[in-house]
């Protein structure tokens, strides 16, 4: 493959749904995505079930996902307790996260960036040798509280994170969907130039810029992308807020660019339809509704 696509609907797409999605539905989605050729997936989060009941069954979903051939399973790890649980459960990759902006880190994680960074640093340090880690930097480009992020400020945090571990994957995340293509291209290019080609891009399609930003990150050299089948996600309390850039939109674009994804188009549409049909899910994305795209081989 020329690109690594990491599917995030089982975690990022389902998490906002209020009613509990049955574990068997989650596992069916994971299996459908794997059957479509997806080989990396964020399957859940080892977070407190009190804080996010929807993720209470991450252990079970992970065990089912680990049965699937060649699937690399990521779980989110918010803290030391989640870290211990993820290691014990045999997660292939740990997904750490903090916000690049103080305002969003405080609102989302209820602590300072420095406190988050210190804790995550110790987790990175204590991870077993060879353990794969993804460090997600939320609001790398735009923050709902602070607006457009200064690029030098963003790069300085990227530098701190990069110094923790030379092997670690780092994701530049457009959490609000309000990044701009030129901004993504510049920052991604500088990040790769200074800290090696180990960056991922995670974007949302809130303002219709999901693919434009993804294409910009690709052009800057990025080769790992998050996307969510069915484009599910968003926030039930913010009409118009959308989920991740739809995996099927991303795959359509990459296939048109001649990039090998390893994904079977028709099977991906089946998985995306499955995701979009989950009770309470808020679907997004574009090509799923375009007859000319649905009919394609």
């Amino acid at each position: 493959m020329n690109v690594t696509l990491s599917e995030v609907s089982p975690r990022d797409g389902l998490q906002p749904i209020k009613q509990f999605v049955p574990t068997e539905t989650k596992i069916a989605l994971v299996r459908a995505l794997h059957a479509a050729g997806i080989r990396r997936m964020e399957v859940g989060s080892f977070v407190s079930p009190k804080a996010i009941p929807q993720m209470a069954d991450t252990g079970e979903v992970l065990q089912a996902a680990k049965q699937l051939d060649g699937l690399e399973c990521t779980v989110l790890v918010p803290n030391r307790r989640g870290f211990d649980a993820a290691i014990a459960a045999g997660a292939d990759r740990l997904g750490l996260f903090m916000s690049l902006t103080e305002g969003h880190n405080q609102a989302n994680l209820n602590r300072s960036r420095q406190a988050s960074f210190d804790d995550l640093s110790s987790i990175v340090r204590d991870a077993p040798p060879g353990q794969k880690i993804r460090f997600n930097l939320s609001c790398t480009f735009h923050c709902p509280f602070e607006g457009v992020v200064d690029e030098a400020e963003a790069l300085s945090w990227v530098e701190r994170v990069a110094a923790l571990n030379p092997e670690m994957e780092i994701s530049l995340c457009d959490t609000t969907g309000n990044a701009a293509p030129d901004q993504v291209r510049r920052l991604m290019r500088q990040a790769i130039e200074h800290f090696g080609n180990r960056f991922a891009y995670h974007g949302h399609d809130t303002y219709g810029l999901g693919l434009a930003n993804m294409a910009a990150a690709w052009e800057a050299g990025c080769r790992v992308f998050d996307a969510g089948s069915g484009g599910i996600g968003g926030c039930p309390y913010a009409p118009g807020a959308t989920g991740n850039t739809a995996m099927e939109d991303a795959v359509w674009m990459f296939h048109r660019m001649g990039v090998e994804t390893g994904v079977n188009w028709q099977r991906l549409l089946e998985a995306a339809d499955l995701a979009a049909g989950i009770a309470g899910a808020m679907p997004g994305g574009r090509v799923r509704g375009v007859p000319g795209a649905r009919a394609a081989a």
Copy 2:
């Protein structure tokens, strides 16, 4: 302004509507777009009213549009008769068009590319000195009959067109919405490098790639873009076929990129709502439905 946005909904967006859109509605749309700060517009087509009844009142719409301060009015000119009519009516810019692929030119214009090129060449030659001309090359990237267009083939036609007149603007048109960002970037970059920075990009959003392709053309140096307010257009017989990339989506992206458009955001939304609400129009685009975008200044 750092970019020239050419509004195409009054022509490209209204043309597919079966029932006749009243002339006063067309003029109201043109005025609303001008009030939003749009300063270039494709207002109609001097085509046979038998062939396209919707454009029968282009003369009247053009006269009303010419009253508006600083508005450059383009009319499409399919042939010598349309050329004479456009010159007599005082159109600011003539919009010539042919397809880059033989299959689409035959299907759309019922003649060979060579025959179209020869006729348009004579029109370019006979245009009054200083007359502004836009030469539109349909299906520059992808053809519904021939698939992806070979880039060397595309460039060879661009070269022939460029040689007709060194001042003439040339538009590379993604007629099917199936161009890919890397393809747009490469071709636009080469066109500008070899034939000067006088290219425009015209795209459709059929597969959700409208903004991605526009951003790619911008990055390649293109500074003139077509877009249609309300994203209206498409084909009533092809569900899912969509119109031009929405002007409001384009403006949202350019404003996020810090590019001055001269457009007033809230007034543009008003004009886009007006376009989208025209009886029979098939609206498209994204940000018009996003509360966070609608509320922006």
